[in-house]
Symmetry: C2
Subunit: 221 residues, 2 copies
């Protein structure tokens, strides 16, 4: 009997985006603990470090199975392996970035991707002055080489970092090149076949989350 | 009687991050509709445009009150005003950006912020070669001028775009300068007083959401 009565372990029922985001946070904190040489931890300790309740942590994990040992807690290295399996980051993912502007450059310089198993193997841009160069040691190609490079490098994910007006066309071309998922930074909703997954990152939405929290917490108690 | 029996309108009970994110998406799509000259819409139409169910839209809005007209649907301009009030973006927010690297530059060039009522009024960086310059017409200051500039420009939000190792110290200084909320791009959990709100943007977490979706949808039906 788990704490969350409605959930069965390891089923493929929908899990909310919030749960998946928290798994990523747990993973980060567990990686810190392992780096510090820790061999056990608990939902209370993780919760205190992350500002969530221990019940929330246990409930989130219960969506995916049974973890931890009675009287001991969790072994960080085992829980890291389990969460990576859940998130799919126990495998390595090759991704293509489209758009070598400031945002694209920031993404190429971002060390967090590789730490979590994502590798940006190619950049695509229409700017002739960029094509043939390398940014953060990643080669820049013209868009028309996307199908060939995607095939040769087993690229499974595409990252869209182009202006809004170009996002749908770029997404269509990524789909044609066989990617299974698209991370979209353009502030538009792009339409994709049901077989291709999409996560949209609209940076203004993040700021709206923040203004919402500030306004709401200012109003109430 | 609303569709979601547990919810009362306009109460300050916790609303999930997922609901708030969807409000932002509704806002974007309504803004498109107004730009196209549309005077009415419906939860079915919005849902079809955004790939969510009409029931979800009605349920999300019911957290915050009663919207729309029987037999007519929603008036986009009215619903835009209501959602902006909920998100706090009916007011203008001045924000300070800390970190003028590639990510900082990308954020400064990002048009979506201003469209939604956020204005980056100052950039702070320790690099002497950047101080005194302007990036996207926003002046770059040294960190020690933060308290003064924050006061003079009524800066209420801080955006942290510095390496992980510097993030906590930068956040502490933003708190001392009186910001009410922090948007954190560094891939670490920062600790803040309870009175200061935080939204963390870890770009690898977004990719983990995507790999999770790809792996999960590949496994099941």
């Amino acid at each position: 009997m788990s704490e969350s009565a409605e959930k069965n372990s390891s089923s493929a029922e929908p899990v909310s985006k919030a749960v998946v985001s928290r798994l990523s946070l747990y993973l980060r904190e567990l990686q810190h603990l392992v780096r510090d040489g820790r061999e056990t931890t608990s939902s209370s300790e993780l919760g205190a470090l992350l500002g969530v309740t221990d019940a929330q942590i246990r409930k989130d994990l219960a969506n995916f199975g049974q973890f931890g040992y009675p009287g001991i807690g969790y072994r960080p290295d085992e829980l890291i392996a389990a969460i990576k399996r859940i998130l799919g980051t126990d495998q390595h993912w090759h991704a293509a970035l489209v758009g070598a502007g400031n945002l694209g450059r920031a993404l190429l310089g971002y060390k967090g991707f590789r730490q979590q198993g994502f590798r940006l193997v190619a950049v695509f841009d229409n700017d002739a002055s960029k094509i043939g160069t390398r940014i953060e040691d990643v080669p820049v190609y013209p868009m028309d080489r996307l199908p060939e490079i995607a095939r040769d490098h087993t690229i499974r994910l595409g990252i869209v970092a182009v202006p809004a007006a170009a996002a749908q066309e770029v997404a269509d071309r990524l789909v044609q090149a066989g990617v299974e998922g698209i991370l979209n930074f353009a502030p538009v909703t792009i339409r994709l076949p049901k077989t291709v997954q999409q996560v949209g990152v609209d940076l203004a939405i993040e700021l709206e989350q923040l203004s919402f929290a500030v306004v709401r917490c200012g109003q109430s108690g």
